[in-house]
């Protein structure tokens, strides 16, 4: 097998990696906003759930979470009589989203808390409900603050997708392992693998920068 023949299977794997990254980044962002805003809620139950979620998923290892969802959850389901067997792709996306969502929640919370107090007071003076203040005043100002950290988390997420190869999901790393087992050509295949991840991370970083410029466009207009 000539090394140029590695490209086919690797690209197939890369496509799976890209899809995993896209889905888990989007679901992770939704979870991040939910838990990040939830942690600032005045409702004790919502706050407790948000804090518990953030602490559990930030406090344990992603691989532990992945194995738990894939190997342990079906047994937990069996004990209570529900079928909780997840296909690898669902377990993978779920673990990645829950993990990155917990990290993102702290970013969202920090950015919202950093919006100046005067803004809340102005909202109240204009007779906005707390919900309106949050939606139309606080969050639009907090989002540009979150973007640099979200960019880092997206790259983190891309790197983390490599772990799903351990639950037999055919991502980039999994395909590379298959080729290596077949050809024993470790040096070439792992070098190609490293370079592919690096290239994908550079593209992702550029995309996040563009997104950052887009959501902060009102800022440059003002100053």
């Amino acid at each position: 097998m000539h090394w140029t023949e590695y490209f086919g299977p690797l690209m197939e794997g890369a496509w799976v990696t890209i899809q995993l990254t896209a889905y888990s980044t989007v679901f992770g962002a939704i979870l991040a906003f939910g838990a990040g805003i939830g942690k600032l809620s005045s409702n004790l139950a919502i706050r407790a759930i948000s804090i518990a979620y953030i602490e559990v998923f930030r406090g344990t290892s992603l691989l532990v979470q992945l194995f738990w969802l894939y190997f342990a959850l079906p047994l937990a389901g069996m004990a209570i009589g529900i079928d909780l067997r997840l296909p690898p792709v669902v377990a993978g996306v779920l673990a990645l989203s829950l993990n990155i969502g917990a990290y993102g929640a702290e970013v969202v919370r920090g950015a919202i808390a950093a919006v100046h107090k005067d803004q809340h007071e102005a909202g109240r003076a204009l007779n906005f409900t707390p919900r309106q203040t949050l939606r139309t005043i606080t969050i639009p100002q907090a989002i540009p603050e979150m973007m640099p950290s979200f960019g880092n988390l997206a790259v983190q997420n891309l790197k983390d997708t490599a772990l799903v190869s351990l639950i037999s999901l055919g991502d980039l790393t999994f395909r590379a392992e298959q080729i290596r087992n077949f050809t024993q050509d470790s040096t070439t295949i792992y070098s190609m693998l490293l370079v592919t991840y690096f290239g994908m991370a550079l593209v992702l970083t550029a995309m996040m920068r563009t997104l950052e410029a887009y959501v902060s466009r009102w800022r440059t207009a003002r100053s």
Binding site: V155, K159, D160, T173, Y197
Partner: protein, 230 residues
């Protein structure tokens, strides 16, 4: 049976208690890998930080590209590379050392930024004041810059120590018997993954909560104005 300890499958609680000594052995490996990886990250990170700050672009530019490359590629792939490629060039390291080295290399890219940020956070007025007092550049660095950078650097390093601990399970791919790998083996042999994997999750939660509290305590305890080196 694993490491000479039998498990008791009569009830989930009995199972949990009976595998505690087995998980403990895995946990000691996790802690050893964390400490060794952290030391490598601290040392190598300092090297990167110095190279990146070099006045010559011929040195600083390659250092920047290398750290960016390390930071943007997954730990698991770096471990595969170290474990399967280095032996082809005659460098054969035991799995544990490969793992700790891989962890250290990955995190050195992050710690180098911590050093840089810590040193840059010491304002230019401090350096100017030192020059006005006729300090040599070396003297300024060791007696003015470093003492003030330490309280800024230490808490961030503490956070990376916790991150390294959470990445140790990845070392299982190169056959290191850390706590998750041990729990997985127990699960493979008993067909009961729920108890061992949940216990690993709980152990991790305890360790990271304690470690994070320690980092916070360190942050409040360190004097913000700096620590004299004498």
């Amino acid at each position: 049976m694993l490491f000479g300890y039998e498990w008791d499958l009569s009830s989930p609680l009995a199972f949990a208690i009976s595998i505690l000594p087995i998980l403990w052995i895995g946990l000691t490996v996790t802690i050893q890998a964390t400490v060794l990886g952290f030391l490598v990250a601290l040392g190598l990170g300092l090297v990167w930080a110095v190279l990146k700050a070099a006045p010559s672009r011929l040195i600083s530019w390659p250092a920047k590209v290398i750290t960016e490359f390390i930071r943007d590629t997954p730990l698991i792939v770096q471990l595969f590379f170290l474990y399967y490629v280095l032996p082809e060039y005659g460098i054969v390291l035991p799995a544990f050392l490969t793992g700790a080295l891989g962890l250290g290399i990955q995190y050195s890219a992050y710690t180098s930024e911590v050093y840089r940020a810590g040193i840059e956070a010491v304002g230019p007025d401090q350096r100017e004041a030192a020059r006005a007092l006729n300090f040599t550049p070396a003297h300024t660095f060791t007696h003015v810059v470093v003492p003030q950078a330490i309280p800024r650097i230490v808490p961030s390093m503490g956070n990376y120590l916790v991150s390294i601990m959470k990445d140790v399970p990845v070392l299982s791919v190169v056959t290191v018997l850390e706590v998750l790998n041990v729990a997985k083996i127990v699960g493979d042999r008993t067909f009961s993954y729920l108890v061992p994997l949940t216990m690993v999750g709980a152990l991790y939660l305890i360790m990271t909560l304690v470690a994070s509290a320690g980092v916070r305590l360190l942050d409040t305890w360190l004097p913000k104005q700096g620590i004299p080196l004498k």
